[in-house]
């Protein structure tokens, strides 16, 4: 049964994309950038004054604030649209970046927080290595679950913009999130149109606003 494992990994991928832990200090190496931001997010989630389900929205907001300005949303959007990015007007591009970012945050924010509540104390973050090639870098990390003696690999792909290392893709257990979304978007655009993709993303947002995420 490959399907359950895949669906689980896809969920994990998305959770990580929401989590995008980067800290754009110019002096940080890519690995340090990933490590320090992960630590900051963990601190927020573990803070005594932030505990309890009634503070969920506050926690999600705080994590978003740490994360949102620090990842390259435009680059993520550009790569997920692939060849279709070129044909878009600047207005369409801006609109797409907004919708796509909102979709990621809405779909994963609450689930991420619930999963973190359950599992954060049971996992260890391991930072294995960074590989830098000019303005591009990859940071290899793992989440270790001691109780199950299992590792999940999470690799971050970054590029340097104005001296800051910014993430443009996350690869969880060998699944690149950007490529996965691109496959979905290509299928939709290929069968209908870019406009249809935007309609679908907006419908998804409305659908999510009407339903709550699973616990």
């Amino acid at each position: 049964m490959q399907l359950p494992r895949l669906l689980f990994l896809l969920t994990l991928c998305g959770l990580t994309l929401f989590f995008l832990p980067i800290r754009g200090l110019t002096t940080d190496s890519p690995l340090e950038a990933v490590r320090s931001t992960t630590n900051r997010v963990v601190l927020v989630l573990k803070a005594p004054e932030n505990q309890g389900p009634h503070l969920r929205e506050k926690r999600i907001k705080q994590v978003s604030e740490i994360v949102r300005p620090l990842f390259d949303r435009r680059e993520v959007a550009r790569r997920t649209l692939g060849v279709y990015w070129r044909d878009r007007t600047e207005e369409q591009r801006e609109e797409f970046i907004e919708i796509f970012t909102e979709l990621i945050e809405k779909s994963y924010g609450e689930t991420f927080d619930k999963q973190a509540e359950k599992y954060l104390d049971q996992v260890e973050f391991l930072y294995d290595q960074e590989t830098i090639d000019g303005n591009f870098a990859e940071v290899n990390t793992r989440i270790f679950v001691p109780s199950q003696n299992k590792h999940f690999s999470i690799n971050y792909r970054l590029h340097q913009v104005d001296g800051q290392w910014l993430i443009y893709d996350v690869v969880v257990e060998n699944i690149s999130m950007v490529r996965n979304f691109r496959t979905q978007f290509y299928r939709i655009i290929g069968k209908s149109s870019y406009e249809e993709l935007v309609r679908k993303l907006q419908a998804k947002l409305r659908q999510m606003a009407a339903t709550r995420s699973p616990s």
């Binding site: 049964m1 490959q2 399907l3 359950p4 494992r5 895949l6 669906l7 689980f8 990994l9 896809l10 969920t11 994990l12 991928c13 998305g14 550009r78 790569r79 692939g82 060849v83 979709l103 779909s107 994963y108 689930t111 199950q148 003696n149 792909r157 893709d169 257990e173 060998n174 699944i175 690149s176 950007v178 490529r179 996965n180 979304f181 691109r182 496959t183 979905q184 978007f185 290509y186 299928r187 939709i188 290929g190 993709l197 679908k200 993303l201 998804k204 999510m208 339903t211 995420s213 699973p214």
Partner: protein
Amino acid sequence: MLKKLAVVVSIVGIVQAGFFLTRAQAQMGSAGQDEVAPQPIADPFEPFNQAMLSFNLKLDEYILHPVASGYAAILPLGARQGVGRFFHNINIAPRLGNKLLQMKLVGAGKEVGRFVINTTLGGLGFFDVADSWFGLEAGHADFGQTLAQYGISPGPYLVLPFFGPSTVRDAVGLSVDGAMQPMNYLLPTYPETIAARGGWVMGNAVNFRSLNLELFENVDRFSVDLYGAVQDGYLQQRERVVQDALAEQ
């Protein structure tokens, strides 16, 4: 046996045809991270695949998930993890066979070592002492990977009922791996033994599902196009499995 071989050979022919059909697109796949991303991959079986994806999701919703939930309520987590390790240990034959076919002699030796240690000291494989005491980590090898190593392309994407996402090449691999199970030959073909084999496969699936019950419920929420998400997830994972096999000495 001859019949089985004939079926395998004819399926290999289909894979080869798929190889020529999709060679161009496979070459473009390596540009996946670049600015100019490839066009959507060819998917000639899509209508069938869509139906099978729906079937598998219903199967999971109405049978596998409820059964696994009940099973998880009865058996504690540690025991279910042990059952998972037992299934992994006992399924050594296809892994060993494929390590040998791939000429990975060190990997084959590891498989034998792990099997001997875990079957004896690890209580029939319920405990993975080969890893924890001797540092022999669990490995992987399958016939789809072996075919890839011999230069055969994945061919078109194919969703199988019960087994889930695959490609033509990996579907052939799956049937050959099944044929490598000694139980299929050691046990006589009676309805009871066929049922036992089915139960065996189901047991493995239920146990695996029980270990991953809550992690991807409501998965629709996390994708815009579930079919594409699952298809790409599978293909990316398999590309890595094949790369790992090529890199292994």
